[in-house]
């Protein structure tokens, strides 16, 4: 039985740890229970601020707090943390290049009950288009702990994308996950095909690689936890080594992880790239998360099919 952890729990516990630094201040837009910022609020009530359901102001206040040498972390669901406040992040955070951390939870389709209004399929695209922004998409609870600390130590704007559901642990331990901002992590060596994945679907990518191994196809798996700045070197290396790539993300294939990877290989080592992700449509309600992911083409089978297509194109 695989081990599961809700990334939000890992995040909330880590935020409360870094809260030992009196510079850390936390803002939440009425979702502190879901975002697990409650843990911080209980421990450091004097540095927790309820912003109310007013996300735009929350981002502006965070920008102002950062000028006082504080490190504000602003929280809400990913959809509201990005698209709803895009211009506030663009000008007050990124143009000013201030030390504000934006944490979007319930990312991708993981708020499966609530439907399209609450599912973020474009947040990575929006955030990575902004100059000065760092975009981090951890794949499990362990990586979330490492990513949260790295984002805290990084001076400058950062967007951290956190999933909602208990998801499989990809990494065995904190020591096992040798996390460094901007440096993709290799999960499995292989020679025939490279899989570059971000977020919770990294676990699916590993399973897909194991399945392909049984068919005699050796797949390398890269955990692209930092979508921006992107690790060009590792992507070029895997493209050179395998000659074909598959990208996997819980996001629209337009503008997200697949696009980011294609931008790199297009300019450096042009190889066939197949994209697994949401095909330019909104999410919807479902009673089961995996059922919804499957309906949007984010499955082990879909990754294996993409691998076969990529291999076919490579042979041509």
């Amino acid at each position: 039985m695989e081990k599961l952890e809700d990334m939000r729990d890992a995040y909330g516990e880590t935020l409360a740890q870094i809260g030992e630094d009196p510079k850390v201040v936390v803002l939440d837009a009425d979702l502190s229970h879901s975002n697990k910022t409650d843990i911080f609020a209980k421990k450091f009530p004097e540095r927790f601020f309820e912003a109310g359901i007013a996300e735009a102001n929350m981002i502006g206040v965070a920008a102002g707090l950062s000028t006082m040498d504080l490190i504000p972390f602003a929280h809400t669901f990913s959809v509201f943390a990005t698209g709803r406040v895009y211009d506030q992040i663009r000008i007050s955070v990124c143009y000013q290049n201030v030390n504000v951390k934006i944490v979007g939870t319930s990312a991708g389709l993981s708020d499966f009950h609530d439907g399209a209004t609450h599912q973020s399929i474009d947040d990575i695209a929006l955030m990575r288009a902004l100059p000065n922004m760092t975009v981090v998409v951890p794949c499990d609870g362990i990586e979330t702990r490492r990513a949260t600390k790295a984002v805290y130590r990084h001076a400058g704007p950062a967007y951290l994308r956190i999933n909602r559901m208990p998801t499989p642990l990809v990494w065995k331990s904190l020591e096992d996950c040798r996390f460094e901002l901007g440096r993709a992590l290799s999960l499995k060596e292989g020679a025939d095909i490279g899989i570059v994945a971000s977020g919770h679907p990294v676990a699916l990518a590993v399973k897909a690689a194991e399945k392909m191994a049984k068919e005699g196809i050796s797949a390398e798996v890269l955990d692209l936890h930092t979508v921006k700045p992107i690790d060009r070197e590792s992507i070029m290396k895997i493209a050179e080594k395998t000659g074909a790539l598959v990208t996997v993300e819980e996001h629209n294939v337009m503008g997200g992880v697949g696009s980011a990877v294609s931008e790199v290989v297009g300019e450096t080592v042009p190889v066939p790239v197949e994209h697994v992700g949401i095909r330019d449509r909104f999410g919807e309600s479902a009673l089961d998360y995996n059922e919804l992911l499957a309906a949007h083409g984010i499955t082990v089978e879909a990754i294996n099919a993409a691998i076969r297509r990529a291999l076919e194109r490579k042979r041509r």
Partner: protein, 284 residues
């Protein structure tokens, strides 16, 4: 170092006269920036000239030699398009050389079309996308309370800008967190870029949102100074000063004409304006 002025409710005629001269100098400086047909946001820059003069040359504790001094008062121009007035004041205080005023908006220059915190000494926030500056000011005011700093935060918003929903999000936030170290000022010139404002009466709105509110003639330095003192004395809630102003104030043909929101002056218009700004005084 300039220290915050006399806190007595009445201010001397000589001080008022000095500040009127400064306001006139700001208006002339705005005009000079627009010499040679350079386009600029004339109307709204002229309407804030008096309050900008009162803040920079009297009210705020600043040290231009040390622009990042921890205890300095903060001024956030939320209606960022009116930055020409601020540029002239900053140049006068030698945050940068007066020569820079000739380079406004030139490629690579430190004086952008809208305030830029990174490029320009003395600018506290990059604004211009309307609605955002008041929230930044709230964040600074809250941060000052957390850190135990005693400085004051001033935010200048437009009445047209007050259509932005974010302004009212900030209004709720500032009242809830009792940001009494924040003085907001509305430049109520009653014109937007294209026509009359549609925001309605502002004083009852701000009162309902939990702010202490006063109204002044925004071209009367004495009234402005008294209101700034009053705001400093407000406790337990943020303060709003509604300044009744005239868009284009000081240049007769531009006064109350929306077309001069952003414009280019002909040589003839420039000469008329220059003449008017030699003789015009403050004093409402």
């Amino acid at each position: 170092m300039l220290l915050r002025g006399d806190s007595k409710p009445m201010h001397s005629q000589s001080e008022i006269r000095r500040l009127e001269e400064k306001a006139l100098a700001i208006r002339r400086g705005i005009l000079e920036i627009m010499a040679g047909g350079k386009r600029g946001h004339l109307g709204g820059s002229l309407s804030i000239a008096d309050v900008v003069a009162a803040l920079y040359f009297h009210q705020m504790r600043l040290d231009p030699e040390s622009p990042n001094w921890d205890e300095r008062d903060r001024f956030i121009l939320s209606k960022g398009h009116s930055v020409l007035a601020q540029y002239v004041a900053l140049a006068e205080l030698e945050y940068f050389s007066r020569k820079e005023l000739k380079n406004v908006k030139k490629l690579g220059c430190i004086l952008q079309g809208h305030p830029d915190k990174i490029r320009t000494p003395g600018i506290e926030a990059s604004t211009g996308s309307l609605g955002q500056g008041l929230s930044i000011a709230c964040g600074i005011a809250l941060g000052a309370k957390i850190a135990g700093n005693k400085f004051r935060v001033y935010a200048l918003v437009g009445d047209g800008e007050s259509n932005e929903g974010m302004i009212w999000e900030a209004a709720i936030f500032a009242a809830h967190y009792e940001l009494d170290n924040l003085t907001a000022i509305t430049d109520e010139n009653r014109l937007m870029a294209s026509r009359a404002t549609i925001v309605g009466s502002l004083t009852p709105k701000w009162r309902t949102f939990g702010w202490a509110v006063t109204e002044v003639n925004g071209h009367n330095i004495g009234e402005i100074l008294d209101a700034l003192d009053w705001a400093t004395g407000v406790t337990g809630q943020p303060a709003m000063i509604i300044c009744h102003t005239i868009k284009g104030r000081g240049i007769s043909f531009a006064e109350n004409v929306a077309d001069f929101h952003h414009c280019q002056l002909t040589q003839k218009q420039y000469e008329i304006a220059l003449k008017e700004l030699q003789y015009a005084g403050g004093g409402g």
